[in-house]
């Protein structure tokens, strides 16, 4: 009953794959404009309405961005969609929080060490100022979720590993769940460990950065485990 999915491999799907090949073969970069509809339809030897439908599919996969009246562009992070892991569809949120934390333990201390080793002055400025912003929000009891995500993202970007930015959704999707669970309990600990991480990266001290991130995650795990006892 649930076998063949070949019905889905319809024409727009096939054309959208041809467009992906076109983007790759022509080395188009994020933000580059694709040829206009008439030209591209001609090159791919297809009708304009089929092309339009295929472009909508690619837009929904964040491969292209369609700007009405302007044209179609390669998306800024092509192929990277919201919730690429489909976490929305995991119903056991309690286990999800714990399992996400388990993965963050595997990744983030090492990412912090890489960031301390490879981040440049631009990364460091960004990490330190986000650290300040999160601290300010925590002290004034405002929602720090978004800035907290940006802080961890900036650290990940400093690693210079091509795959790590693609793993950021794991961190991003877990932070709101963590903040919700740990509330303001970890205010002092968050401020202190964030500061330690940022300073260690700024000093290019990989050992300290790794330890500080580990300590940060430990506080979170203790707090989350207590909540679920």
């Amino acid at each position: 009953m649930m076998n063949s999915e070949s019905d889905d491999r319809n024409l727009p799907q096939k054309i959208s794959e041809d467009i992906i090949s076109f983007i790759l073969d022509n080395h188009l970069k994020p933000g580059d404009r694709l040829p206009n509809e008439a030209i591209l339809a001609g090159q791919l030897d297809i009708g304009r309405s089929s092309l339009r439908e295929a472009m909508k599919l690619l837009a929904s996969r964040n491969i292209v961005t369609i700007r009405q009246g302007s044209g179609t562009y390669v998306a800024s992070s092509p192929g990277l969609i919201d919730d690429p892991f489909g976490f929305t569809f995991i119903s056991d949120k309690k286990k999800l929080v714990q399992d996400l934390l388990e993965i963050r333990f595997l990744l983030e201390p090492a990412i912090a060490a890489m960031s301390a080793t490879y981040s440049d002055s631009g990364d460091i400025n960004r990490i330190c100022s986000l650290c300040d912003e999160v601290e300010e929000l925590l002290k004034t009891k405002k929602d720090h979720t978004q800035k907290d995500i940006e802080f961890h993202t900036a650290i990940a970007m400093g690693s210079k590993n091509l795959v790590i930015p693609r793993l950021i959704p794991i961190i991003n999707s877990s932070i709101p769940l963590f903040v919700k669970t740990t509330g303001n309990v970890l205010k002092t600990e968050t401020i202190e460990t964030h500061r330690e991480i940022a300073c260690a990266i700024a000093e290019h001290n990989a050992v300290k950065a790794q330890d500080a991130m580990y300590t940060h995650l430990m506080y979170n795990r203790r707090c989350i485990n207590k909540t679920y006892e």
Copy 2:
């Protein structure tokens, strides 16, 4: 110039989000059938052609599967698409191989340890028979890429961590690149270390499983680094 992406947040996009909410609110599971078009359009208070367009978007994101003449179903792994990380669009394949390996070093030894701890007899049977199949293919000089992917996937599934199956594309997309790079050079080492991993998991020995996976990745790293010297 590259700012507002609001053009994309058009009606089909909005409706597709309503359908996602419908799936979640009604606790529909993978393979479950959605209500027919007329009923669903009525419930969401929208036109049938808008609904149809939104469903196509969801199909392209692998959230639903449309079967002509049968109906629309929740996809088997909803939200998990081919190449969710957009690796297709990373052009520096040499750095990609090395960076993927770096991430596999962070994840896979720990995953092997979790698998040794939590895998059930079904997982273990699957891991051991895939180990046999890969060995047979290697010995007869046939392409083992697909079975190698299945072997590492079976280990990941044995971990029982909800997030790990979602990370499998990292492993899967790196194996063909590795096989291509390491060729048949690592035949004996692959057979031996795969066997060690499988036996350690079967014995529920987390320490041995972690070590064996580490050794396996080490052979790959050495070989890859030599290739790129």
